[in-house]
């Protein structure tokens, strides 16, 4: 297998290798989100629930929930994370 980290010197440069292009993608996401937020003013909603009528509900819900999800999962790591060979050790201990 190829050696880790250092990529070959003469290797082709890819579009994403340039940090500037990564920034462009970030900005594209931000602009699309802003546009989608504004778009809420321009169509007729067919809500099942009251919350759906709030301006930009889906966007805000998605953002807050995802941040909550990741932070919640991070907290779970404190309790649940063990070494990669956690279960292998159990077998080394004895039985079988």
């Amino acid at each position: 297998m190829t050696p880790p980290t250092d990529s070959p010197v003469d290797e082709k440069k890819y579009w994403l290798d340039d940090k500037k292009n990564v920034k462009k993608i970030v900005w594209a996401v931000v602009i699309i989100c802003a546009a989608l937020f504004v778009a809420d003013a321009f169509y007729h909603k067919h809500p099942y629930f009251g919350a759906e009528e709030w301006f930009g509900f889906y966007g805000l819900f998605g953002f807050i929930m995802c941040v909550g999800l990741v932070l919640g999962a991070k907290v779970m790591r404190l309790f649940l994370m063990r070494d990669e060979d956690y279960y292998d050790e159990a077998h080394k201990d004895g039985d079988e």
């Binding site: 070959p8 699309i32 989100c33 929930m65 999800l69 309790f79």
Partner: protein, 561 residues
């Protein structure tokens, strides 16, 4: 007419005897023939077999069975193409029998036939894990087998109780009222990976072979979804169970390092959507469940295929060791992104046209809390399957790995699957046409498209925000404890500690008993031993002396008296 299940199962047998080029052609031809056969089966019951007093219905075709039969056969065909590079007859034979028995179970019209195929899926599929040929895989395979066979035993017990109570073996609506209904519900629940019964899935699937995981992801759990839809449609508790299933595994998916295990968690989450649909039980909801099972099998297979290709080329599937693979595996990257977009339900991809049916059905019923949970889960799916999988495997930091692109057979399988994912998303009418009930549903309304895009893009924004602020938990080499801890650590420990207690009691009891015995021997020895009072020997003269002595006393007393 021939049962498509027989074609696959009997078609599996010659594989071991065929030479390589014939074998490969055979592997592709058999599912196609079976699919052709399935296309021609009209609604009705066929293939009755009389066993004692009961009539087994080995082939019952109706709307619900048709969708699942079709998608199972398509999945068998695609995964056979995918696995062509890996010329391992054990996998090929067991995979084909596995697919055949899943189809047989879907077509079963009675509980006995269902039970036979139910167990056959368990036994045949375990070889897809064993074929990895590592110690870790062997252990996972044994755990998997025990749980799967356990589910079968519950099903059999339920079926027997059901027969005793109703004298019917029909595989139809059962409900939760009777004991039999509860037992069978539990049997289905294990295979469907209900919360707390789920962990066999995340334990075993990532340990299977590259092609084996793709097959496993398609059949077992969706067979359980089908069975639940057949027997427990409209059972209220399924809405709660399903909602927990959608939300609970995604937390694990965020922190899991093995990317195939991340996919196993997200598989669990997708099953939750289907289970909610079954719990609602309306025509729209059951249609949604069937449609979602159909699209889900395809995009989940596609995601497992792309991660399988990564595993095949780099030897690892761990997020902490991957990154930057898009440079040398552009096609795999592209196909993975199609799968990711489909599971995330982006408009124009397959998940969008199926998942929305379930959410709409939920809206009609007015379950606002469950609806909010499912919406959260939808955003979460995009977060961990839609972004995390492609991001950490193909982009993120450059791992320096420069593997070759996936082999042609894998690329063809991924290409076909990706084509179906997009095709269904763009033009869902053919899928809607084969659903169990007539469909009057339009996924592409302005509000729906915009709302879905808002949900997804803001999730992407959240991911970007968390990455830039370095709040996102890094991929770490780790094991996260899940319910399998109970039977991999806790119970063995209890047994070992319990064993120690039993050993102590046993040793104490033996020691006490030995002591008692030796004490008895000692006492007996004292009185009856060679020197003991009772065993002492006396010379014959002493006897005569005493006899004469007694006689003399007697005489004396006689004289005196």
């Amino acid at each position: 007419m021939v049962n498509p299940a027989y074609i696959l199962i009997l078609g599996a047998l010659p594989i071991a005897f065929l030479g390589r080029p014939f074998r490969q052609a055979w592997l592709l031809a058999v599912p196609l023939v079976a699919f052709g056969m399935a296309l021609g089966i009209d609604d009705g019951t066929y293939g009755q077999i009389q066993v004692f007093d009961y009539t087994l219905e080995t082939l019952r075709m109706d709307g619900l069975a048709r969708v699942f039969t079709f998608i199972f056969l398509i999945a068998a065909f695609l995964s056979n193409i995918y696995a062509l590079h890996d010329d391992d007859p054990i996998q090929q034979v067991s995979g084909m029998i596995y697919a055949g028995s899943a189809v047989g179970a879907v077509l079963a019209g009675d509980l006995i036939t269902l039970f036979v195929y139910w167990e056959l899926t368990a036994i045949s599929s375990v070889f897809l894990i064993l074929a990895r040929r590592t110690e870790q895989a062997r252990r996972a395979a044994m755990r998997y087998l025990i749980i799967q066979v356990g589910s079968g035993v519950l099903l059999l017990a339920g079926a027997l109780v059901h027969v005793a109570a109703t004298d019917s073996i029909a595989f139809t609506h059962l409900g939760l009222e009777s004991t039999a209904g509860k037992l069978i519900f539990l049997a289905f629940g294990i295979k469907c990976a209900f919360p707390l019964l789920h962990n066999w899935l995340q334990d075993a699937y990532p340990e299977a072979t590259v092609g084996g995981t793709v097959m496993l992801s398609a059949f077992t759990t969706k067979l359980a979804v089908y069975s639940l839809a057949r027997s427990y449609a409209g059972t209220e508790i399924l809405i709660t169970i399903g909602a927990i299933m959608t939300a609970f595994p995604i937390f694990y998916a965020v922190i899991e390092n093995d990317l195939r295990r991340v996919l196993a968690y997200s598989l669990n989450n997708q099953l939750g959507f289907m289970v909610v649909g079954i719990g609602i039980g309306s025509e729209l909801a059951i249609n949604g469940t069937a449609a979602h099972a159909f699209t889900h099998i395809l995009y989940k297979a596609l995601l497992f295929m792309s991660m399988g290709a990564v595993l095949f080329r780099t030897g690892t599937c761990k997020g902490s060791e991957l990154g930057g693979l898009y440079k040398t595996m552009p096609w795999t990257t592209g196909f993975c992104i199609v799968g990711a977009a489909s599971i995330s339900a982006f408009p124009l991809f397959s998940g969008f046209v199926s998942k929305s049916m379930i959410l709409s059905a939920l809206g009609h019923e007015g379950h606002w809390f469950v609806w909010a949970v499912l919406l959260f889960a939808s955003a979460g799916v995009f977060h961990h399957s839609g972004i995390k999988i492609p991001y950490f495997a193909f982009f993120a930091h450059d791992s320096g790995l420069r593997p070759k692109e996936a082999p042609p057979s894998m690329l063809i399988a991924m290409g076909l699957t990706a084509f179906l994912c997009i095709g269904i998303g763009v033009y869902p009418a053919p899928l809607y046409a084969i659903l169990p009930y007539a469909v009057d549903y339009h996924p592409y309304t302005t509000a729906h498209v915009i709302n879905q895009l808002q949900l997804l893009m803001y999730s992407a924004l959240a991911f970007t925000f968390l990455m830039l602020t370095k709040l996102y938990p890094p991929e770490l080499k780790s094991t996260n404890l899940d319910t399998d801890w109970i039977y991999r650590r806790f119970l063995p420990c209890v047994i070992r500690c319990g064993g120690r207690v039993i050993v102590a009691i046993d040793q104490g009891a033996r020691r006490g008993f030995l002591h008692l015995v030796s004490e008895i021997i000692r006492v007996v020895h004292r009185y009856s031993g060679i020197e003991g009072t009772f065993a002492r020997t006396y010379p014959a003269g002493a006897m005569v002396f005493w006899a004469v002595g007694f006689l003399a006393i007697f005489l004396l007393m006689y004289l005196i008296g």
